[in-house]
Each structure stands twice: as C-alpha cells, then as structure tokens.
C-alpha cells in the first residue's frame, strides 16, 4: 500500500510537469499577445508582462482591424455550425438505421464508415481538392458537405455505439403509441442520444473550427478565408511577421473553443466511452 502511494505521488508530479509543458506554449502566446512587438522578437520574449513592455490591448485592436478578420471569423463560424449540424443530423439518423435495420447493406455501410477513419486525409487531399474545384465545392457553404464526409466515420461509430444501448422496447412502445419512424427518431431516440450529440458535437466543432488544411486546399482563398488561414496572412512582405497581432488573433480564436470544451468536457468523456465500449 505504502509503495502504491509513493508511486502515485511520483506519477502526480510527473503529470503535473507534463501538463505544464503542454500548456506553456499557450501561456507564452497569451503573455506575448499583451506585449509590444519589439519585446516579442527579442530574448525578452520569455519575460512576464510588465508596465514597461505592455502594449495593452493594442495587439488585439490591430488584429481586429486586420483586413478580413471579421469576414474570416464569420466564414469559420458558418462553416463550423453548418458542418457540425449536418454531421449530427445525418450521422445520428444513419447510425440509427445501421443499428436497427440489420441486413447486409447496413453491415457494409457500418464497416465503410469505420474504415473511413483509418484512411489519412493526406492520402486524399490532392485528388479531393481537384474534385472539389471541378464540382464547385470551393465555397464556404459547399465545403460543409466535405466536412460531413470526413466527419461521418467517427460520428457514425460513436452514435452507433450509443444506439445499441437504447432498449428496442422504447422504440416499439413509441410505434404502438402512434409514432412513425421519423417521429420515433425525433421524439424518442434523439432526446435519449443527447449526451452523444453533445460529445460528437464538441469533437467535430473543435476539429472543423481549428482545421487549416482542408479549407486551405479547397476554398477559393482569394475570396474566402477562415481564421486558421487568416493567421498566416500576418506574415508581411520580406518575411516580416506581425507577432503581436498574430498572437492576439490566435488567442481570440482559441478562447471560445477552450471555454466550450471546459463547459462540456463531462459529456465528451461519457460520449467517447459509450461509443468505444459498446461500439
């Protein structure tokens, strides 16, 4: 017992150091986003914010005033909300079908979805960007369907895992009570799946919001930029980088997602477990 306690203490110290190392870059960005440009690019980058090097909110204002920031924020928001909504609605219905209608097609469908998680994005990205261009999927509204395709694997897997835990009798009771399949889904199944909706929603939101590569490859960058793409435009000509505004921009982008994660992390863990164990 005593030995276990010692091991636990050592592990606690180890993981504390590890998580500090993990959070350190974020803290650096946060600190430097409040500093003057000259103090960021020199060795004083590691200093704390003081009255001497503080730029106040100047960097944040500069970031906001940056050409296209609000538009990029808007596009990111539209893409994220639409994609996640599409993924949630389509994949939950699909998973319900796959679990409840047991036949060869549903089996094949399920394994296709699961298999799609195995294929790395990098394998498809060049053919995909060409195809998206040809088919006109290079707008912020159409890119959502591409996100639906890439997000479906994980979402269907997690939803299917959860649907398996819903007793069939509840749906049969709904049938006898007078529900058609759509009513059964929206009145009975969907409310029961709420925890999984939240966890899938959060995971997909974090992914779509932070995603750089897919919009970079697919979107027509002259017209549409998302936040992760915009950040790289803080690089000026001749390799000059506006570090202060860039850090401020990064902070503004990650804060909403971090808050969302902190509020809902309980559901993420529940949802992931139910998907993993029962799936």
């Amino acid at each position: 017992m005593k030995r276990d306690k010692v091991i636990n203490k050592i592990l606690a110290v180890f993981f504390t150091i590890l998580s500090l190392a993990w959070i350190y870059p974020m803290v650096m960005i946060l600190m430097n986003s409040f500093k003057e440009e000259t103090t960021i690019t020199t060795s004083t980058a590691f200093d704390f914010v003081t009255s001497e090097n503080s730029a106040g909110f100047a960097n944040y204002i500069a970031a906001l005033e940056k050409q296209g920031f609000l538009a990029a924020f808007g596009y990111s928001l539209v893409i994220t909300i639409t994609s996640v909504a599409l993924i949630l609605v389509c994949c939950s219905m699909c998973a319900w079908f796959i679990v409840r209608v047991k036949n060869r097609i549903s089996n094949i469908l399920y394994y296709l979805f699961v298999f799609s998680m195995v294929v790395p994005f990098q394998m498809l990205m060049f053919t995909l960007s060409n195809m998206a261009n040809t088919l006109g999927f290079n707008t912020p509204f159409n890119i959502c369907f591409i996100y639906l395709g890439f997000g479906a694997g994980l979402a269907v897997f997690m939803f299917a895992g959860f649907v398996k835990t819903i007793p069939l009798e509840i749906e049969e009771a709904a049938t006898i009570d007078g529900c058609n399949p759509l009513q059964t889904f929206f009145h009975v199944v969907l409310p029961i799946m709420k925890p999984t909706y939240i966890s899938v929603g959060i995971l997909e939101t974090m992914w779509v919001w932070n995603d750089y590569l897919l919009p970079y490859l697919v979107l027509d960058r002259t017209k549409y930029q998302t936040i992760p793409i915009l950040i790289q435009y803080f690089r000026g000509g001749y390799g000059r980088v506006e570090m202060g505004p860039m850090f401020a921009c990064i902070m503004m982008v990650i804060v909403p997602i971090v808050i969302m994660y902190l509020l809902c992390q309980r559901y993420i863990i529940n949802g992931v477990i139910s998907g993993a164990v029962k799936g």
Binding site: R104, N107, E169, E172, G178
Partner: protein, 397 residues
C-alpha cells in the same frame, strides 16, 4: 371491448444463410426444440384461439415457447408468416400497430427516459392531437387509479420499479384501447412487489373495460390472473382452458408438470385392464383406479389390455398413512422443508422420488426425522395417467 381471433397463426423466422452474412457475426445455432423447416425456424405453429370480449387470457410457457412472439404478432411488432388475425372482426394482419387500437406494457417498462411521468402518459394522446384539456383529464384520472398522481412531474429514473410499471400501465390505460397486451410486466419486480402488483392488475381489470392478453412464464400469475390460460411449448399450444381445467385435467404430461407448485410427481408404471377395472402396477406396489376414473378411462380407452403409462400425482393429494396399509407406498424421508403451515417432504421410494405436502401439525404428531421410513397413499380420483409414448392424458375430458 373487442374480440380477438387467431386463425392458424404461424411465425417462421427465416434461416440466416452464413454465406450471405458478409462481415456479420456467425449465427449461433440455438439449442431449442423448435421445428426447423426449409423456410426457417418455426417459432409459433398453427395457433388457434378466440379471445372473447373483456376476457383475460394468459399465455404461459417456458422460455422460447413462442408466447411473446404470439403477443408481438397481435401487437403488430412481428409480421405474421401465415394465418389470420382479427381484432373486432377486422382482419389486421397488415394493419400498423398504431391503427390496431391496442396498448402494450413491456417487461422493461419501456418508458421514455427524457419525458416526465405526465408526458409519458400523455404522449400517445398528443400524437393523436387530442385536446390538451381532455389529455390532462385522462392522464390525471389514470394516475389517480394507479396511485401515481404524486409522481407526475418526475422523470422515470427517479421512480422505483413498481412505480415505473404503474406508469407503463397508466400509459396503456389513457389510450382507452380495445386490447391490453402485457408482456411479462411483473418479471422485473421483486417477489413482494410482484404479488402486490398482481393484485392491482386484478383490480385494474375490474375498473378498465378491455380485453387482456397477458404473457408470463410464471404459472402462479397465470393461475391467479387468467380467465383462460394458454399453455405453450416449442411453438405449439399444449392446452387452452380455465385455471381449474388445466390444473385438474391436464391434457398432457407437459401441462401436468408445468402447472402446479411444487411440480406434480411422476413415476413409470403398467396400467392393466380387467373388464372395466383398472390397476396400476410397478415392481414394488400396485393400486386400483377408482370406479369413477375407471369409467372415464374406459370411454377413451384404445390401447391394449396392458400398457406402459406415466402416473402423475400432485403433492397436495398425497397423505401420510399407517405402515403396511393396503395400497400404501413406502419410502424414506430425504428432505423436509417447512413452508409455514405446511411442510414439503421429499421422499425416496424404489419407484422414484416423491414430494408430499403435509400439514405442519400432522408432521409434529408423527415426529419424522430424515432417513425415517414414511408410508403414504394417494387420494381417490387424484392420479393422472399419461401414455408413455405420446405423453397425452389417457382420459379425454
């Protein structure tokens, strides 16, 4: 308020072909005695029954006998492979469950976890777009009947098993259906609560106007609740009759063994006919069949003068007697179980093991101990005789 007619109802589950189930799990062959044909596994065979208006019919049998499948076919949750099902004179084979005017209570309650008790009960009426005032009135009336008014605002997870089952029954009542279908509604409750709910179902039945079809594997529930009992085994109906009929005149060995607690005692014997008199003989004893029963036997007798039979006798129809009496059996006491006012004695004889139910007072007088010699006799007209081959009752009532 509806008559249900089941005509030659059959349920066949198609065989799953292994080659077809791509990626699918390998189908496990269930160890059951269900008939397997080319079309598939026959879960219910030629089920014929007419359930009269306001009747309470109980389907009873061991697991896998097809009783739940039959109920689900009446509900419309399973397709009917062959045969015709009429509710209130209307053929409903292809009618959707919601249009059959039925309500069902499930073993697992099947309450909607996201809705309050009130919403659970009101849900079906809301779907039918009934006036909210009428819904409120009906839900409160049903809640009053079942004593769950205090819980109307709670979610199902905040209720105990018994309360949940009441809500499930309430959900059925508010619909005012023609037919109530109940699929082992008390199986998830503990023994005490089960007895209590059983009484409540009997009371409910007097208050509610409807035809009841009730499925259970518990023969006590079947005996206490049913106007008529349908006993099933391996997809076949074994006997249909009132509780008294199936208890006193079992159609075959299975029914005799299934109904009654403790189980009927059975032993192998020879039945010998001399004119109109019948004797039962084993290697160690013999006794004469009472004249009343002999008459009945003679009427339906088709066998040879002597035939192999299985004799059945209920534990409560055996009584202790003095040693060496005429027609008395000898055995040794193996186990004695005190049940309160009665004692179950397990006696080993050379013809097999017997269970006797004896009043506790009588046992106290005799002062029997484990291993002691016990003499016992059968009551007149109490034995049941079954053909050893067909296992049918030799007396056709």
């Amino acid at each position: 308020m509806a008559e249900i007619v089941l005509k030659n109802i059959k349920k066949i589950y198609p065989n799953e072909k292994k080659s077809k189930s791509l990626f699918g799990k390998k189908t496990e062959q269930k160890k059951s005695n269900l008939e397997v044909t080319e079309e598939g596994v026959v879960a219910v065979q030629d089920f014929n029954l007419t359930i009269k208006e306001h009747e309470f019919v109980v389907l009873v049998g061991p697991s896998g006998c097809g009783k739940s499948t039959t109920l689900r076919m009446i509900a419309g949750l399973e397709d009917i492979s062959a045969g015709e099902l009429y509710i209130d004179g209307k053929l409903v084979n292809d009618v959707a469950p919601k249009d059959r005017d039925i309500a069902m209570v499930f073993q697992s309650y099947a309450l909607y976890p996201n809705m309050t008790v009130y919403d659970n009960m009101a849900f079906t009426l809301k779907l039918k777009k009934v006036d909210p005032q009428v819904i409120d009135q009906k839900v409160r009336a049903a809640a009053e009947t079942l004593g769950i008014t205090a819980y109307l605002d709670r979610k199902p997870k905040a209720l105990s098993g018994g309360q949940r089952q009441r809500v499930a029954i309430g959900r059925a009542i508010v619909r005012d259906p023609k037919v109530f279908l109940m699929d082992e509604p008390l199986s998830n409750l503990d023994a005490k609560l089960r007895n209590q709910m059983r009484t409540e179902i009997i009371k409910l039945r007097q208050k509610v106007d409807g035809t009841f079809v009730y499925v259970t594997h518990d023969q006590t529930e079947a005996m206490t609740l049913g106007d008529r009992i349908v006993i099933m085994k391996d997809g076949f109906v074994q006997q249909i009759g009132t509780p008294q009929e199936v208890f006193n005149r079992p159609a075959n060995l299975f029914v005799a063994g299934f109904i009654g607690m403790p189980q009927m005692n059975f032993f192998n014997a020879h039945l010998i006919r001399v004119d109109n008199e019948f004797h039962v003989e084993t290697e160690n004893m013999s006794f004469e069949i009472s004249p009343e029963m002999a008459n009945l036997l003679a009427q339906s007798w088709v066998a040879a003068p002597a035939t192999d039979v299985i004799v059945g006798i209920r534990p409560e129809q055996i009584y202790l007697t003095e040693p060496n009496g005429i027609g008395a059996f000898k055995g040794n006491l193996e186990v004695s179980e005190l049940m309160g006012s009665t004692v179950h004695l397990h006696v080993h004889t050379e013809d097999g093991n017997f269970v006797l139910i004896v009043p506790a007072t009588e046992l106290a007088k005799r002062d029997l101990k484990i291993g002691d010699e016990v003499w016992f006799k059968f009551e007149d007209n109490a034995v049941h005789l079954f053909d050893k081959n067909t296992q049918d009752n030799l007396v056709k009532y």
